[in-house]
């Protein structure tokens, strides 16, 4: 066993400097399209290429509904004059002005994760927040197996009919104060799977959502940013775009 200890020590520290410093390693984020001004016909062509209606066109202005983007890159590849993508990851957004996070949440958070039908990618990114690169424990965030000790219900997936009851039971088992966080395009709007005959159009259909994190899947740093937002250590994304139609707020 001593060899393992040695191995661990030899590795040194790999943990990101975020949120204290910047994190800009390649491959940490899939990126997200940015708003663009272009000719009306090109804007229309771009909006038509988007399979999830994340690109909303108004005359010669394309505005991006981040909550709908699934990173298919169809607006960035195979087209002349592609949309510019930003490589950041601070995408978390508080659903409405009415949402206030309790003071008790400012230090440490316990999170119950619910897989409500995700493809495995979002869940995997949530799991990776525990790896040495992100090490969420250092920031006071813990994933708990029991909803009885959870402050945050973190939901991934479009909420399938079969998972709806289990999710609600977990929510009901949580003590007050409690808040709901929807992670990933499916949980926000149903993504490519919903709404359908066995899935809803995201968590908003069933529970009132407080914080949303766009992405398909959102990278671990985006989810960390969301958690930091809840504790008040980071600012949520400030924009005045309407919530996703049909996404349910």
């Amino acid at each position: 066993m001593s060899r393992w200890v040695l191995k661990g020590l030899q590795t040194g520290i790999v943990t990101t400097r975020y949120p204290g410093g910047e994190e800009g390693a390649p491959g940490i984020s899939p990126g997200i399209p940015q708003d663009m001004v272009c000719s009306g016909s090109h804007a229309e062509a771009l909006a038509l290429r988007c399979p999830t209606a994340a690109l909303q066109r108004e005359k010669d202005q394309i505005s991006v509904l981040r909550e709908r983007c699934v990173h298919c890159y169809r607006c960035a590849r195979g087209i002349t004059k592609p949309i510019q993508w930003e490589r950041g990851f601070e995408w978390a957004r508080i659903r409405s002005d009415a949402v206030v996070f309790p003071k008790a949440f400012q230090q440490s958070l316990h999170i119950r994760v619910i897989d409500a039908g995700d493809c495995g990618a979002c869940l995997h990114e949530v799991k990776l927040m525990n790896n040495p690169f992100y090490n969420m424990h250092r920031l006071g965030f813990f994933i708990t197996p029991t909803p009885r000790k959870a402050d945050i219900l973190l939901v991934v997936g479009p909420v399938t009919d079969h998972m709806k009851r289990a999710m609600l039971k977990a929510y009901e088992a949580m003590p007050e104060p409690r808040r709901v966080m929807a992670v990933g395009a499916c949980a926000l709007s149903g993504g490519v799977f919903g709404p359908g005959f066995v899935t809803g159009s995201g968590v908003g259909d069933v529970l009132s959502v407080d914080l949303v994190i766009p992405g398909c899947p959102p990278p671990p740093l985006a989810i960390l940013h969301g958690l930091l937002t809840i504790t008040g250590r980071k600012m949520a994304l400030q924009d005045d775009k309407p919530a996703v139609p049909g996404g349910g707020t």
Partner: protein, 527 residues
């Protein structure tokens, strides 16, 4: 194993009145058409006497009749056989083949649940995909006339639905686990029946994550369906998108530029490496070996970042499109990727060397979760699980696709069938994947990565060896270039069917470890 025509002739000589055969010219697949009563005999003959592997059952509701295709896989071009039987739509009764070909068990349960077909002689139909506590019997979502609105408004779930128990002895009880359990486990329910310490019967109850992908794909254009194919199982997205793109290309007789072909293999092996790292990490974590788990997690994150910087997306979404790739990866980036992959492999090797000298770790996986070769064969298991039990099938060798036949690599195989054998397979395959990446880099030709083309109507099954094993995508496209049937046979579906064999007769505390050594995805199974 014999040639296509020979096999067709022999089947006809054995059952002269009942079996008609033909060879599909474009795909080289032998089709044996027979009466419903004859199907179990024919499947038995192929599976148990002709050494064909069972790939899956595809049910189609065509204009006026049922078409059932039982897909079997053999060696080389023309090595695939499909047994076809048809019946009028009013007829619902078919003969079960799950007694001679046990691998068909879950396929028949699925067809019963989603199409309302009845398989005579099947021991256990009913509650499977559509849970009885959410849906009433009689909802058949895969039928053409299925009305989602009516089904939703008219739902009458069975409130007292309760999964059935098998063990009936004094003191027996059920340990339920899930669907919401552990920290970040996927949603699945296990019913472990026991009288104390040992798990006597293990039932995984799946499909909590059923998203109806096959139904959603019906009527979709190629572009829309590609999103579904790629994203129903996010951790093996590239392999499934690859299979879908190849299916479209085969139906439409479309060319793929050579550079794109080589790059696809390059990226597919990168995904395999990453997926195996993830499974190894899961095994280390399940035994509580924190340093090993974290060391492997570092490698996995590096592989994800490598995928992200090479292709734009950490899980390789949006890369494959029918006709090639959506973007090029320049040679310099590929070279850097191989250097990085070699580095990852070297460090993985260091972890491997430490693991095999850690007796507390080996004690937890050696002779635990054993699957015998007979069991692996009868359940038709695939991928690293089957290769750990002496069933060494690998579609990259058996039915080479996308140019794999020109690459030099080995398919590792072990015979013990325990958790340790499966772990060794993962380590060995990770090495082979990097070897293939190196070869791909050497021969990477210049040129475009995409050729435009038109889709054409037709039907085709395409098999791909995903990191978890063989997947089959069956795709039918109509004159309007819309999908009319998209059947997904996934390795997780196949291997979950055999999972209980490994979990039974082992202690409770071994259960999470056995689960981790299987490395299954629930999303890939549930679709």
């Amino acid at each position: 194993m014999m040639k296509a025509q020979e096999l067709a002739d022999q089947a006809q000589s054995l059952w002269p009145l009942d079996v008609e055969s033909c060879v599909d010219a474009s795909s080289g697949i032998v089709e044996l058409c027979c009466k419903r009563e004859q199907v179990p005999h024919l499947c038995d003959w192929l599976f148990n006497h002709q050494a064909y592997l069972f790939a899956g059952l595809i049910v189609e509701e065509n204009t006026s009749r049922w078409d059932l295709f039982y897909l079997f896989v053999g060696q080389g071009k023309g090595g695939c056989v499909r047994v076809r039987t048809s019946a009028a739509l009013e007829e619902r009764q078919f003969q079960s083949v799950s007694v001679p070909v046990h691998a068909a068990d879950w396929h028949e349960r699925e067809a019963e649940d989603l199409f309302g077909l009845v398989f005579e002689g099947h021991p256990r139909l009913g509650d499977f995909i559509l849970h009885d506590d959410t849906w009433q019997e009689g909802v058949e979502p895969m039928r053409n006339n299925f009305d989602p609105a009516a089904a939703l408004s008219n739902r009458q779930p069975r409130e007292n639905a309760c999964p059935r128990r098998i063990v009936d002895v004094p003191g027996a009880f059920v340990m339920p686990i899930g669907p919401v359990f552990s920290g970040t486990a996927e949603s699945v329910h296990f019913q472990l029946e026991t009288v104390g310490e040992e798990v006597l019967r293990a039932f995984p109850r799946l499909f909590f994550k059923y998203r109806g992908v096959e139904k959603r794909a019906e009527g979709c254009s190629v572009d829309q369906a590609l999103l579904l194919a790629e994203r129903f199982a996010g951790t093996t997205a590239f392999a499934h998108a690859f299979a879908f793109a190849m299916a479209i290309e085969q139906i439409s007789d479309r060319e793929v530029p050579e550079r794109a072909q080589v790059l696809r293999i390059f990226v597919a092996e990168l995904e395999r490496l990453r997926s195996h790292l993830s499974t190894i990490e899961g095994i280390c974590a399940s035994t509580g070996l924190a340093v090993a788990a974290n060391q492997t997690a570092i490698l996995e994150e590096e592989a994800l970042r490598l995928s992200g910087s090479l292709t734009g997306h950490r899980y390789l979404f949006g890369l494959v499109i029918p006709g090639g790739l959506s973007r090029d990866c320049d040679n310099q980036a590929c070279r850097q990727s191989v250097i990085k992959a070699r580095d990852i492999l070297q460090r993985l090797d260091g972890i491997d060397k430490l693991l095999i000298n850690t007796s507390s770790f080996l004690d937890r996986i050696e002779e635990v979760g054993v699957i015998t070769q007979e069991q692996a064969h009868s359940h038709g298991l695939v991928g690293p699980v089957a290769r750990g039990s002496g069933c060494c099938s690998d579609l990259r060798r058996l039915q080479p696709y996308g140019g794999y036949d020109t690459f030099d690599f080995e398919t590792p195989c072990e015979v013990e069938g325990d958790g340790y054998a499966r772990l060794r397979i993962l380590f060995a395959e990770a090495k082979q994947s990097v070897r293939i990446m190196e070869q791909a880099l050497e021969r990477l030709p210049a040129g475009p990565v995409f050729l435009a083309g038109e889709a054409a109507p037709g039907v085709v099954p395409v098999g791909v060896e995903t990191p978890r094993g063989a997947t089959w995508h069956w795709l039918r496209m109509d004159e309007e270039r819309k999908l009319t049937r998209y059947r997904l046979i996934t390795p997780s579906f196949t291997n979950w069917h055999g999972f209980h064999l490994a979990a039974e007769n082992f202690a409770f505390q071994d259960f999470p470890i056995i689960l981790a050594t299987f490395g299954l995805s629930v999303a890939e199974n549930d679709r």
